[in-house]
């Protein structure tokens, strides 16, 4: 009957055609696949649901960015981002990792040079919020090793820990914006020294802490998997033993890897 002569799309064809209609607004092939009498405008419902759902996920992860640029600007930037960066899976707590770099290169946002770094901080906070629960390594597990093993092994960092360096006081901007603290915003000095930040999930909340440059470099090296001696080489004038004790006491590491065959870790953290 009416179907005669039209090639029936495979399921994969149809799914690609539907994506094109939703993401690229190219509904020509999709319209052919619809049953007779189905108004193509109905496809807008799907587009609206997808874009509003993903925009909401970005708003949840980047609340300070949203306040800095305003609702409408954020919605426009989010829509442009979504078209280029669809999520890879339905795990939306992990969606938006490329948004900070997107914003840094987004010409309409060029008047806010710190926007990308604020977004990077918010992404680190978001990662810390949603990181899996892991049992921390404790000092006694490390003390059981020979000195030689302590010197050659490397730490595995807790997945909530993030390190960030910015030329702007992004932590102050972030706090002032989220607290709607206009006085603090007015007092901000954008031309400060480089800013070294540690982001992690504490017992109940996410903490953003400023570190001294060398202490940050030491932790950064450990997080990258450097051995203790080479991490000490990466940072000048650090009190490595006391910094290490603090990192362990704060649960920032979950395992100590000796080599491909050996690791020291709490029972469920490996």
């Amino acid at each position: 009957m009416l179907n005669a002569g039209l090639r029936m799309p495979t399921l994969l064809d149809l799914q690609r055609v539907m994506r094109a209609s939703i993401v690229q607004h190219d509904a020509s092939a999709m319209v052919e696949a619809l049953a007779v009498g189905v108004e193509p405008g109905r496809l807008d419902i799907y587009r609206n649901t997808i874009f509003s759902g993903l925009t909401r996920a970005l708003r949840l992860a980047f609340p300070a960015v949203e306040r800095l640029v305003g609702d409408d600007f954020f919605a426009g930037a989010a829509a442009a981002f979504i078209r280029e960066h669809l999520p890879g899976a339905a795990y939306l707590d992990h969606y938006g990792g490329e948004f900070p770099d997107f914003l840094s290169g987004f010409p309409p946002a060029a008047s806010l040079p710190y926007l990308g770094d604020v977004a990077k901080l918010e992404w680190a906070v978001n990662r810390a919020l949603h990181a899996p629960d892991k049992i921390p390594l404790d000092l006694s597990q490390l003390m059981g090793l020979s000195l030689e093993d302590q010197q050659r092994g490397s730490f595995r960092v807790h997945p909530s820990v993030g390190l960030l360096r910015s030329d702007f006081p992004v932590d102050e901007i972030w706090r002032a914006v989220l607290d709607a603290d206009d006085q603090a915003l007015a007092k901000l000095d954008l031309a400060t020294e480089p800013n070294f930040l540690l982001v992690e999930r504490g017992v109940s909340d996410v903490a953003v802490t400023r570190l001294q440059g060398p202490a940050w470099q030491f932790l950064d090296a450990l997080c990258r998997g450097e051995s203790l001696p080479s991490a000490i080489d990466c940072a000048t004038d650090v009190d490595a033993p006391s910094l290490l004790a603090e990192h362990l006491a704060s649960g920032r590491f979950i395992a100590f890897l000796l080599d491909a065959n050996g690791a020291v870790a709490p029972p469920e953290a490996a």
Partner: protein, 293 residues
């Protein structure tokens, strides 16, 4: 043949439950409302931290059902093993009383389109869905339920009525059906189907759960009314009536009140729960009378 399947730790009773959303975590933990079971979206608990800690506390005295919204059983390209693994990790932590997914697709070429998109009702789609239901059931080692969709478009090359498609998935894989009564109403209105005939086409023994929710009504440029499944309001009288019809056909079934947009205070959800519970009681009494007769 369906794989050999394990069983659930704490089954979901044939009573009314609520869809648990973050907004109600504190209210539920503090007030301990009298709700027989709760359902959460699996994808919301794939990380650690506070949400999972709250759910750990809530599940100590309330059976939990895990309702996935993103596995994309209908993807032509196959299931994402990483997502399947995340689902299993949540299940191992939460020990759910039920697990369910949707007859829909969301992923193509590894792009996740964040919605439950409609499948053509074809033999090819049926085979794809059945293969993926088999895969999930053997991976999580449990019988799952699959939910009928709400749809706004239908396809030129569809050859199988949706209710027959649902019944065939259950028959071929051994899975159960999550009968979303609001979705049946929405789709029937949108496409001119007979909602009662839809219910009559579902195999009663496969029905493992019912969903109830509100929906929105929108007028399209062509003047036609489109019903949109937004879970943003109370259940409407026509859907309550269809629910009674479903209970009469299927007997008492675990029934969930879902509310995902314009989320009201917990008390409003509990009002809907009590209303559904009264209908279940009616059916149970009816069953008892029939047994006595």
């Amino acid at each position: 043949m369906p794989p050999v399947i394990g069983s659930y730790a704490s089954p979901i009773p044939a009573k009314t439950g609520i869809g648990l959303r973050f907004q109600h975590h504190h209210a539920v933990i503090d007030a301990r409302p009298d709700v027989a079971w709760m359902e959460v979206h699996t994808e919301n608990y794939m990380g650690g931290g506070t949400p999972l800690r709250h759910l750990d506390a809530i599940r100590r005295d309330t059976p939990i059902s895990l309702h996935g919204v993103g596995l994309s059983l209908g993807s032509a390209e196959g299931l994402d093993p990483a997502h399947l693994q995340r689902i299993k990790q949540v299940a191992e932590r939460i020990e759910p009383g039920l697990m369910s997914e949707h007859i829909a697709w969301s992923v193509v070429d590894r792009n996740y389109l964040a919605d439950l998109l409609p499948l053509p009702m074809t033999e090819e789609a049926l085979e794809v869905v059945c293969r993926h239901v088999d895969q999930m059931q053997s991976y999580v080692n449990c019988r799952i339920l699959v939910e009928n969709p709400s749809t706004y478009v239908i396809f030129r090359h569809s050859t199988i009525p949706e209710w027959e498609f649902m019944a065939a998935v259950a028959a071929r894989t051994g899975c159960g059906i999550l009968c979303d009564v609001n979705n049946i109403y929405v789709s029937a209105q949108n496409h001119g189907w007979d909602a009662s005939a839809y219910l009559a086409g579902l195999p009663p023994t496969a029905i493992g759960e019912i969903h109830l929710a509100g929906h929105a009504v929108r007028q399209l440029p062509d003047g036609k009314i489109l019903r949109i499944d937004d879970h943003g309001s109370a259940v409407i009288p026509e859907v309550w009536a269809l629910y009674q019809e479903a209970l009469a056909r299927f007997g008492p079934v675990p029934t969930l009140i879902e509310w995902d947009n314009n989320i009201p205070p917990l008390e409003m959800l509990l009002t809907e729960v009590r209303r559904a519970a009264a209908f279940i009681s009616d059916v149970e009494r009816g069953v008892a009378y029939a047994d006595a007769a």
